[in-house]
């Protein structure tokens, strides 16, 4: 028994030690570093015009990309689970791409499609729509990187609930809309919500793809993650730390939401 207890403590030491060094120490340090000289410097940097603009732009990308991907995600999940189709495997495979592809590759792809000499550039230029180095391009990048989350969280829930209740509703005379709103959506809501949280987290923090398509112009096309990088490059450390802490706090909120939703889902 002593050797079992020994190996238990050994595993605890290794596992918790690894987490402490890799995850917890950096997280604690960033809060410490940021507020080393008091609250004022990071606060002033984040509430500077550029900082506030970056915050606003981040929220705009979230406000556009998240609802679009949520509607798409629920629709796509219904199709994948409830409607057998021989193209489903291709749909499924395409949905995995955004998880596996490098953000900078995603950014470059959009850059080439919408940029000078790009396939879509002539039409868009004629219509007077500027995609690159402006908000539409950044939103497109955010949509690309966060596309699969809602689908991936909704599909297993849809599979699990089965179709009995939907069929019962239908037998009782409910039309398809009524069945969806009253039966299907309430049954999958925590799965969808979990997907929405993951989508939001990804959009909030996306750096690589957005940095390629946005041009990272202060006060114009800069989200908070880009603001962090630019300020660091320019040796404006209070700005970089302040925005980092803000993003880290948002990340902690996301973790909290994930845990609450997981509990709801399991209940």
């Amino acid at each position: 028994m002593t050797s079992a207890a020994g190996s238990r403590w050994g595993l605890r030491f290794l596992g918790i030690g690894y987490l402490a060094v890799l995850l917890i120490a950096p997280l604690v340090l960033i809060f410490f570093k940021t507020f080393e000289d008091g609250l004022a410097p990071p606060w002033e940097a984040v509430t500077s015009p550029d900082g506030l603009h970056a915050l606003k732009l981040t929220l705009i990308t979230v406000a556009i990309a998240v609802p679009l991907n949520t509607v798409f995600g629920v629709l796509c999940s219904l199709l994948l689970v409830r409607h057998k189709w021989k193209g489903n495997w291709l749909l499924d495979a395409s949905l995995n791409l955004p998880f596996a592809i490098s953000p900078v590759v995603i950014g470059l792809s959009l850059f080439l499609l919408y940029g000078k000499d790009g396939w879509l550039e002539p039409g868009l230029a004629e219509a007077g729509i500027k995609v690159l180095f402006s908000v539409p391009g950044m939103v497109l990048a955010c949509i690309f990187v966060s596309l699969p989350f809602v689908v991936r969280e909704t599909v297993p829930v849809l599979q699990e609930i089965g179709t009995e209740q939907e069929q019962a509703a239908e037998t009782l005379g409910a039309n398809a809309w009524q069945t969806f709103w009253r039966i299907t959506l309430p049954a999958i809501r925590w799965g969808v919500a979990y997907g929405v949280v993951l989508t939001t987290a990804r959009v909030l923090g996306e750096f690589g793809a957005v940095s390629v398509v946005s041009g990272n112009i202060s006060g114009e096309t800069q989200t908070l993650p880009l603001f962090v990088e630019k300020n660091y490059e320019n040796f404006n450390l209070p700005g970089a730390f302040g925005a980092s802490v803000l993003l880290a706090l948002l990340a902690l909120v996301v973790l909290l939401a994930m845990n609450l939703l997981k509990r709801k889902e399991d209940a």
């Binding site: 290794l14 798409f72 592809i101 490098s102 390629v212």
Partner: protein
């Protein structure tokens, strides 16, 4: 009782008549296919076209010589080291979270997903504070190859943990008890019983972590920098974009894209294999598996039969 006849969860005849609200399945399918094509596939097609715009020969030269090749070798080696380390520690951590009891466990379980929730550029900034020239513990590895490994360890940590965890939760303790009663020691039980059962999830988690590591950009940008000997492919692509070499950047991007596709293919093969052995890492474990291991073969129903004695590796 009609409902009783339809109680099987696998498509009874009526399901085919079920329609999406308000729109036919055909219309819905059209919207979904158009959306994915426009948002994902068209940009990737443009990327592939650009990579070949100066001919196949130029493509090959870019990716097989000089800095391009060097960056690919570097990221492949670093990613291999990283997934090997995280496979070991990820399994240990998953084990602690499932089988052990200690105060603060639920907080530890929640914080595993931090690398996912935290923006990568923030991770980079934090890591350089901890392990840079202003390190409070006096360890300066910033702008070295070690920094690449540490950054990748950070961002890929959740993958193995979240892939192994649901398998450990589901695992039948009776087998281990039987082995113990037959006189097997702790290590033998792990090697002969636990490890073979974890293998599908572990392998899938490792493949996903590898895919993620190959393309990682934000977390290495500040911490490992872009000097020629610490330049991974994603950073090199970023520099090529800035210097206006679109075909070169696209060529290297296509290589990363193909490597990512290969990883996805491996994951789906592993999961099909895992499904066959019932211990599915995807379907069934589902959203409980957390962020990182997506049910990639999402609509395969997990088979219900269990033959634990068949697990012999």
């Amino acid at each position: 009782m009609e409902a009783h006849a339809a109680s099987g969860s696998t498509a009874p005849p009526r399901v085919r008549h079920w329609r999406l609200p308000g729109v036919g399945a055909g219309l819905g399918r059209g919207v979904v296919v158009l959306w994915i094509s426009l948002m994902v596939l068209l940009p990737l097609a443009a990327l592939t076209a650009e990579s070949l715009s100066e001919g196949l020969g130029q493509f090959w030269t870019t990716v097989s010589t000089g800095q391009g090749l060097k960056s690919l070798q570097l990221i492949l080696v670093c990613s291999l080291i990283v997934v090997a380390i995280n496979a070991v520690f990820g399994t240990i951590i998953a084990w602690l979270l499932v089988r052990d009891r200690f105060p603060g466990k639920s907080i530890l379980n929640a914080i595993i997903d931090l690398p996912f929730a935290l923006p990568t550029i923030v991770a980079s900034l934090i890591l350089i504070q901890l392990w840079g020239n202003k390190s409070p513990v006096g360890i300066d590895i910033a702008l070295t190859r070690t920094a690449i490994v540490v950054a990748l360890l950070f961002v890929t940590l959740p993958f193995v943990v979240r892939a192994v965890q649901p398998l450990l939760i589901e695992m039948d303790r009776e087998m281990e008890e039987a082995a113990a009663s037959l006189g097997a020691g702790g290590f033998t039980i792990f090697r002969r019983i636990i490890f073979p059962n974890l293998l599908p999830g572990l392998a899938a988690g490792v493949a996903l972590a590898f895919a993620r590591a190959l393309g990682e950009y934000g977390s290495v940008l500040i911490f490992a920098g872009g000097k020629p000997d610490t330049q991974v492919t994603s950073i090199f692509i970023g520099q090529k974009i800035e210097s206006g070499d679109a075909p070169g950047a696209a060529a290297l991007s296509v290589v990363l894209l193909l490597l990512a596709l290969a990883c996805l293919f491996v994951v789906s093969m592993i999961q099909r294999w895992g499904n066959r052995h019932e211990r599915s890492a995807g379907a069934g474990a589902g959203s409980g598996a957390g962020v990182t291991v997506m049910p990639l073969s999402g609509f395969d129903e997990p088979s219900a039969d269990t033959h634990p004695e068949d697990q012999r590796d």
